[in-house]
């Protein structure tokens, strides 16, 4: 593939300071994800999957190494530049959904559109279209906390998708969901891939691995890249 990689992590390390102790969450990881491909991070809890996703989503900065997103070296960007890049290219789905309680589903989904300067009517139309696409049209007026775990996960995906990002990052998108909801989420992710979106996912769910969604599978252990497997 000739296109520039969507994500480049080059010798990336991340160290957290917890209770005055330095904890190495990620050590010297190098990874590339091409546009339109799906990269799956696997590994046990505490292996560094979420840290790697956070680095790729520009939610944190590396302690060492560099993160390049769609050709932009993010190390040289200030907070303003990171915010802009995030708004422009990235949709994030968190393991804990991170929906705003008290806001209804439609307002949660359209949150990313507010700083883009879209009017209320346009926001509503875009939000409803995304909800309909994910089969959540009837939930628009409900408050986020009134939904089941699977529904909240789909709302979180809708929120990540509403701004039509090129890169979708999802942390354990199927954890704690029943079979039916796992299949629904996998179907959505497969559709996104078909549409040409780049996917960076983490999961320790065998069903996600087995569904054939991932083009590459990266195994992490204790913050280090253990293995790398590419399809075909």
């Amino acid at each position: 593939m000739n296109a520039k990689p969507a994500i480049i992590l080059e010798g990336v390390s991340k160290t957290y300071s917890i209770a005055k102790k330095e904890v190495n969450a990620l050590m010297n990881v190098t990874l590339e994800v091409s546009p339109g491909r799906c990269c799956m991070l696997v590994g046990p809890s505490g292996s560094g999957k979420t840290t790697l996703l956070n680095l790729a989503a520009l939610l944190t900065r590396p302690s060492a190494g560099r993160v390049v997103l769609f050709g932009k070296d993010t190390n040289s960007l200030g907070e303003y530049g990171l915010d802009r890049l995030r708004r422009q290219f990235i949709g994030v789905v968190f393991q804990a959904f991170n929906l705003l309680g008290g806001l209804n589903v439609l307002d949660n989904v359209t949150l990313p559109l507010v700083p883009r300067g879209m009017g209320p009517k346009e926001r509503k139309e875009a939000g409803m279209a995304t909800l309909e696409r994910l089969g959540l049209g009837g939930f628009a007026a409900l408050r986020a906390e009134q939904l089941s775990g699977g529904e909240q996960q789909r709302v979180a995906i809708a929120r990540a998708l509403v701004g039509d990002p090129s890169l979708m990052i999802a942390d354990e998108p199927t954890s704690n969901l029943d079979e039916e909801n796992v299949l629904a989420i996998l179907e959505i992710l497969a559709k996104l891939k078909e549409e040409g979106k780049t996917l960076l996912l983490s999961s320790h769910d065998a069903r996600v691995l087995e569904c054939g969604l991932a083009d590459t599978v990266v195994r992490l252990k204790n913050g280090a890249l253990q293995s790398f497997a590419a399809k075909g």
């Binding site: 994030v92 991170n98 559109l113 700083p115 300067g117 929120r159």
Partner: protein, 395 residues
């Protein structure tokens, strides 16, 4: 597009206030209460000041009094002969005034009696306005025009007589020919204006004696020059220019007045407490919210603007409600704290509190009610926004 963004942020700020209704109410109530008290006090202060200044607008250019051993002494007509010939003086009018006690309903009150030359003094020039009946005219003797509070206390009307005890304890009758309007509360409400002759008889002044003399100049700008000239003629005079009296009145009702300073201090402390509560409650939930918003593409500026709108809405609503409630409280007669507003009520008859909302006071109230809240919510949001998103999300 920009306007749509700001409108969107404003809408979200409004819904956030509903989402965090407990916190909104916890902010709104103390601020509203503080602003109610502060606005009631401020409106009364402005009303008193306006009333007092109204009474000074018609003061003579110079008021002359006699001091003896630092205390006020009666002026004698002959002591004014040299002064009346000084250049720049247009008119010099003697005035007799004093106080008289009156017990009404078992309570002692003190009223003011002023004796004037009816032909020489126009009520308008004196800042008085007759609402019913007429003012004094040349040839009157024991006729009097009285203030509304005095008339109400005694239950008298125009054409009726009132009998008071004079300086020697003898009964002295005045015939009421007019009532002053109630617009000038402080100045006229407790006043009895009669002829200078009747006033001398009532207060025990001898012929040619007076309390003070009112000096009207050919040009108001000559006040200081003429005042100096009077003192050079007779250093025993106390010379009060209109500017001096106006300044003294302004200061008496300005922020230096103790009770108002106290209320403002309480208000500032309340605002500081509210601010502190805001600052300390940013921690987990709001920090996480900042993280979520940034993770979905919000910039630091967007979040600060959102918080700015939230605090502006609460601050403006609480202040505006406080202003209306304060005004309403005054309309009800300011029960419980009226006595604090008018500290001299034990010697002054009952009168409705004057109230006035000066634009600069309303602006100051809004600034005091809104600014600390805005500052207290924007600063921590800015601090939370400037840390890594990942850190915010972890709380």
């Amino acid at each position: 597009m920009r306007l749509a963004k700001h409108a969107g942020l404003f809408g979200l700020a409004a819904s956030n206030l509903v989402r965090y209704s407990h916190k909104t109410i916890a902010l709104f109530l103390p601020l509203c209460l503080a602003m109610t008290l502060a606005s009631a006090m401020t409106f009364v202060k402005d009303g008193l000041k306006k009333d007092a200044l109204l009474s000074t607008t018609n003061l003579p250019d110079i008021t002359l009094q006699r001091l003896l051993g630092g205390r006020l002494e009666r002026l004698k007509e002959e002591s004014l002969s040299k002064v009346s010939t000084l250049p720049g003086i247009a008119r010099l009018i003697p005035r007799v005034w004093g106080y008289f006690p009156l017990e009404i309903g078992g309570k002692p009150f003190v009223y003011t009696l002023v004796g004037i030359h009816p032909g020489l003094q126009d009520p308008k020039i004196m800042g008085l306005c007759v609402a019913y009946g007429r003012f004094l005219k040349p040839g009157d003797g024991n006729e009097a025009v009285i203030g509304s509070a005095l008339a109400r206390s005694l239950g008298v009307h125009v054409g009726e007589s009132i009998v008071l005890k004079d300086a020697l304890g003898n009964a002295y009758a005045f015939r009421v020919v007019g009532l002053f309007a109630t617009s000038v509360q402080i100045y006229a409400t407790d006043m009895l204006v009669t002829t200078i002759g009747a006033a001398r008889d009532f207060l025990g002044y001898g012929n040619g004696e007076m309390s003070d003399a009112l000096v009207y100049l050919e040009e108001a700008g000559l006040q200081d020059l003429v005042a100096k000239a009077i003192l050079s003629v007779d250093p025993g005079f106390r010379v009060l220019t209109r500017d001096t009296l106006t300044d003294a009145t302004k200061q008496a009702y300005s922020s230096r007045a103790g009770v108002f300073s106290l209320v403002w201090l309480v208000l500032l402390l309340t605002a500081a407490l509210v601010a502190w509560a805001q600052l300390s409650s940013i921690s987990l939930e709001q920090r996480k919210e900042v993280g979520i918003l940034r993770s979905v593409g919000w910039g630091i500026g967007d979040i600060i603007e959102l918080k700015l709108f939230e605090s502006l809405i609460v601050g403006v609503m609480a202040t505006a409600s406080g202003l209306f409630l304060g005004a309403g409280y005054l309309l009800l007669g300011a029960p419980l704290i009226k006595g604090y507003f008018i500290g001299w009520s034990s010697v002054f008859p009952e009168f409705p509190l004057p109230a006035y909302a000066a634009p600069e006071s309303v602006a100051l109230l809004f600034f005091t009610g809104v600014f600390p809240l805005v500052f207290a919510s924007v600063v921590p949001s800015w601090v939370a926004s400037s840390v890594e998103v990942d850190q915010c999300l972890r709380g």
